[in-house]
């Protein structure tokens, strides 16, 4: 099981557009990009409308996920090939989500939409026509999902990785800089969390760095290979990117994504918060 089992090149993708049993899926928060042009045959998943419960702050449940994939014509034995904008943030989130609900064969297109566009590969506005399926999801695998109490308990005991930008980590910014900075939650990071921005794991064209570069990155950051790891960001999609790197590319065994992330943690009453560029202490 190397990176080729979870990551495919844009070239591979273009050659396999018509391969039976392979479904291309574009995942984005803002799906207007899909509507103006997508990889031929690709199905659209809207991160906000399709993958989030519309009332509670949580995922869609197992039955909702089954209904969604059945309606989009995705079968249990299909190879699902995900890609998207924002350097594959939301596609990585969907990858983690498909794994959470037990889908067997899932892959990401290296570089996502950006690499595909910069290469000048074909895009179409034609919508795919897929027959509905009877998709059957497994119960959620919470061995890859962290909840808030686990994060508080992990302070000083597990690897916590904050993958936001250095200014968000330090508390100088409250959101990624393409969003307004007036936000409700407190600024800062979970004490003892290491700052390893997701972007350090990617090249400028959105492709992932090599296994050697990635291994060196987390070693230099002080990740303790003998401990379990929880990654977080602001809403859990940039940390899915890092979860993918640690769990799927580097094959670390116990890695969780905390999808509540800073919008939850920074709003909790009574939990410790560190500000500034240093991890801070557990006490």
């Amino acid at each position: 099981m190397g990176r080729e089992s979870v990551l495919v090149s844009a070239d591979w993708a273009e050659k396999n557009l018509d391969t039976p049993g392979t479904v291309f899926v574009e995942v984005d928060e803002d799906t207007s990009a899909y509507d103006t042009g997508h990889i031929p045959g690709a199905v659209k998943l809207d991160w906000r409308k399709d993958l989030q419960d519309q009332v509670r702050r949580d995922f869609v449940n197992q039955q909702q996920f089954e209904a969604l994939l059945s309606a989009r014509g995705i079968a249990n034995n299909d190879t699902v090939v995900l890609y998207g904008g924002n350097n594959n943030w939301f596609a990585a989130y969907a990858y983690w989500y498909f794994k959470l609900y037990g889908h067997g064969d899932v892959k990401l297109i290296d570089g996502g939409r950006k690499r595909w566009e910069l290469d000048g590969r074909p895009l179409t506005t034609e919508l795919p026509d897929r027959a509905p399926t009877q998709y059957s999801a497994k119960s959620p695998d919470n061995s890859i999902r962290a909840f808030r109490d686990e994060v508080v308990a992990a302070i000083g005991t597990k690897n916590l990785i904050d993958v936001r930008s250095p200014d968000e980590y330090a508390g100088r910014l409250l959101a990624p800089a393409h969003l307004p900075q007036e936000q409700a939650q407190r600024a800062g990071h979970v004490p003892t969390a290491l700052s390893v921005p997701w972007s350090k794991a990617a090249n400028e064209d959105g492709t992932f760095k090599s296994d050697e570069e990635l291994t060196a990155l987390y070693r230099a950051a002080g990740l303790d290979a003998g401990r379990s790891t929880i990654a977080y960001c602001r809403i859990g999609e940039r940390s899915s990117h890092t979860w993918f790197v640690l769990h799927e590319l580097l094959r670390h065994s116990d890695v969780k994504n905390y999808d509540g992330s800073w919008t939850e943690y920074g709003s909790l009453v009574g939990v410790p918060v560190a500000i500034g560029d240093e991890p801070g202490s557990a006490s």
Binding site: D30, A33, E117, P176, H178, L179, I235
Partner: protein, 108 residues
């Protein structure tokens, strides 16, 4: 497209939108502008904002008219554009309010 101030999301809003209602320019440091090549604005360019240490902070895709916009903080930033027409970058000393910049791109 929902409002850019919706904290539930994390993707970039439409880069040609007017500034969302409720944005206080006395508080926000907005770095925005246009990506241009020799033959005019470049839509679909990838523009990233790097902090004073050169670390990635955000990335957006320009509107068909080549527009982009970041919400940063006062200080020095690098704005870097990558597109099929080429790449280019600019260092910006940003203050609160609107900081309007033009990034020229050319094939290397």
């Amino acid at each position: 497209m929902t409002s850019a101030v919706d904290i539930a999301g994390c993707g970039a809003p439409d880069q040609s939108d007017a500034l969302p209602a409720g944005i206080d320019l006395a508080k926000e440091t907005v770095i925005g502008g246009t990506v241009r090549a020799d033959d005019g604005p470049v839509g679909g360019a990838y523009v990233r904002l790097l902090d004073a240490s050169g670390e990635f902070t955000a990335e957006v895709v320009t509107s068909p008219a080549g527009q982009f916009r970041f919400f940063a903080a006062p200080g020095h930033w690098t704005v870097r554009a990558l597109s099929r027409a080429g790449s280019g970058e600019l260092i910006v000393a940003a203050d609160r309010g609107l900081n309007d910049v033009t990034i020229d791109v050319a094939a290397a």
